[in-house]
Symmetry: C2
Subunit: 407 residues, 2 copies
């Protein structure tokens, strides 16, 4: 058996499709974000502006966050030293869970090392808690939800993206007595469109189903306290489980679910992905808690981010560039081909010092490869001007289509 030949095959497939990924090495300069330093493959250093980060509000460099992390490092050290059960539960973890439960109007919350593992571990454990559970999953749900739903071979139905009729038909076709769960996102990050949360809750009520809402791209950024789309729309009480991240708008790391005390207790007690892993470092938990608490009161930052997104979309649309606009903070610009997308990204980086990573399959469907911009309150008018001009020039230079590719 020639194992290396098999690896060559697997890697060659990616190169042939033009979707082999190269990571670029960057170093953010604290206090200076979105500016960063790029270390090129040749070892040179160049100044760049990051336009594709998920630190949507710049909280990763906010003084309250950094101060909390420094303090916790000094007070308690680097790592937690254990799983949550075996010496790894600290007052920092408990405080953060209380902060998150409050954010989502739930009795409790449960921390994981990432929102990926929070989705995966929770969704794969629910069928053990509710034997016979059928999970109805939106077709565009994140990879981590798909992995969790698939994992234990439980019953699942995939309904067309945001298609309430399809969902209703699938629910109606199943045994009315079976336990059911509808799983969806509030903001789908690659197109930036919203899930129809209220209607999904109505259907869940109609069929006696639980609701599971991934608010990863909304927490911190929507709702009067940053509780997400469900808070904005007055639906906190109608959704049974929230999934969220501490690594995007909150600027740190980690993920969680928020739900009833009983549900959190059961997931805590049954999910291998929770039980058998070292808990977050106390400093990370402290920084995240400070960020969540701060954003409960900083509506201004949320408003600034929405404004920046609106301006960028207006300017790109004015130039006829094929953006997708569903009214969220995410600005996807469709290129539609993995090789072109990579080339554009390379030219932006090398010629303009603008860093936006190409997004290709499997993150988005083939044929919808794109650049995805994440404007934030820390991107000023100068940075935005430079981006818009560079894109306008490259679009002409490369003779790319305008407008008609947009969704």
């Amino acid at each position: 058996m020639d194992y290396n030949a098999k690896l060559d095959d697997a890697l060659a497939r990616l190169h042939e499709e033009g979707r082999y990924r190269t990571f670029i090495d960057i170093e953010r300069k604290q206090g200076n974000y979105p500016h960063a330093v790029w270390t090129t493959p040749e070892g040179d250093q160049k100044n760049i502006t990051v336009w594709c980060g998920n630190d949507y509000l710049g909280m990763g460099q906010h003084p309250v966050v950094l101060e909390a992390m420094h303090e916790a490092l000094d007070a308690t050290g680097a790592g937690s030293g254990g799983t949550r059960n075996i010496s790894g539960t600290t007052v920092y973890h408990k405080r953060l869970e209380a902060e998150l439960a409050d954010l989502h109007g739930k009795e409790d919350a449960l921390l994981f090392t990432s929102a990926y593992i929070a989705n995966d571990a929770t969704l794969s454990t629910l069928p053990r808690l509710f034997p016979g559970l059928i999970i109805y999953s939106d077709a565009l749900n994140h990879a981590s939800m798909i992995e969790g739903i698939r994992r234990n071979g439980g019953e699942k139905r995939i309904f067309k993206h945001n298609d309430l009729d399809d969902l209703r038909a699938k629910l109606a076709a199943d045994d009315p007595a079976a336990p059911k769960l509808i799983a969806f996102e509030s903001v789908y990050s690659m197109d930036g469109d919203f899930g129809p949360l209220k209607e999904l809750c109505d259907i869940a009520d109609e069929f006696g189903a639980l609701t599971y809402c991934d608010e990863v791209h909304a927490v911190g950024m929507y709702g009067p306290r940053g509780g997400g789309i469900a808070e904005r729309d007055g639906l906190l009480g109608r959704i049974d489980m929230f999934n969220g991240t501490l690594a995007k708008a909150f600027g740190v790391m980690g993920g969680y679910i928020a739900a009833s005390a009983k549900l959190c207790d059961a997931v805590r007690s049954y999910a291998p992905g929770f039980i058998f892993t070292t808990s977050l470092p106390p400093a990370v938990a402290a920084g995240a808690a400070a960020s969540v608490a701060h954003l409960k009161g900083d509506q201004d930052l949320r408003d600034q981010q929405q404004t920046q997104a609106k301006i960028l979309k207006m300017r790109l649309r004015g130039l006829g560039l094929p953006i997708i606009d569903h009214g969220s903070h995410i600005v996807p610009l469709i290129v539609g081909d993995p090789v072109h997308t990579q080339k554009l990204s390379d030219m932006l980086l090398q010629d303009f010092g603008i860093y936006v990573q190409p997004i290709n399959f499997p993150t988005v469907p083939r044929g919808t490869e794109r650049l995805r911009f994440t404007p934030s309150p820390v991107h000023g008018p100068k940075e935005m001007d430079a981006l818009v001009k560079a894109l306008d020039g490259l679009w002409s230079h490369c003779a790319l289509n305008r407008a008609e590719l947009a969704g």
Copy 2:
């Protein structure tokens, strides 16, 4: 459908078996570990000594680690702001991966948010890289390996723990042309016994199989540079893939694999659990890199830890307490019943300020419930005296068996 009643059922099962877990809130005092403060459920604070942590060498409070973390926080901020592909690769991540590749004598390494997800993501991706792969897995492999091997329904064979004949029989029964992988650990953490690494490599050669070795409980602690059991035994070149953690002996957080450049590249490119998750915070990567680099040169700390473990085992054995001793740094004391184990743990904590969490099913098989001590260089003679006396007294008080329960 009464969902709450189902949750009640699930939780009642745990209570009935006496294995419902209660996390205790502790706060380590940096510079003062293993001493910590316990916040009781009533909100009181009590001084305790931690005897069950996985910060085996006290690196979680080592100045080189903390300094590196403070520096990175100041230089670059809190979170990485993205997945590895989308703005989340920094010079800190690259440096740490280079440090780990060097530690294991491999061409490359790949970081994950935990060793759990490193195992799960890698083992579930290998069948995609090597179609038809059969994985031969030791019966006592960690939950994260089991989850990864199970995930995609690939072919698997479970061989009896450390049983080379059983493994050979299972290999011989399969198609000689099929790609094969043998997955095992170097130190099994619940009994503290070693895997027969050399013999496993010999068998792998004989059958043309790849080898995957989880060194989570050995990295930093065995081998002249802390490269683990494989380094100690001169087997680095014979094992194809290592899994390790940054959260135990290295004192911080995160996990990784180390392997050939090609294999790391393929896992990097194909594993959803790697692709779709925010990378480690730069400060965590910086602290871990400092710890790995430091331990490459600090044999003294490794020696101290082994000495502490030997002393504790000798003293407990002298009192006839049923410890398991396979010559590793882990000291399991078998109680054999979940309710007794919990009670002993509660008494140690409340009456003696000694914190050792009960270990029960599913972490260990039913009937082998235990207390598991992790002596370290920071546990001094005074702490050890207090522990040994408390255990001796409680063993008599509770009329527990001595010796005959030991493995």
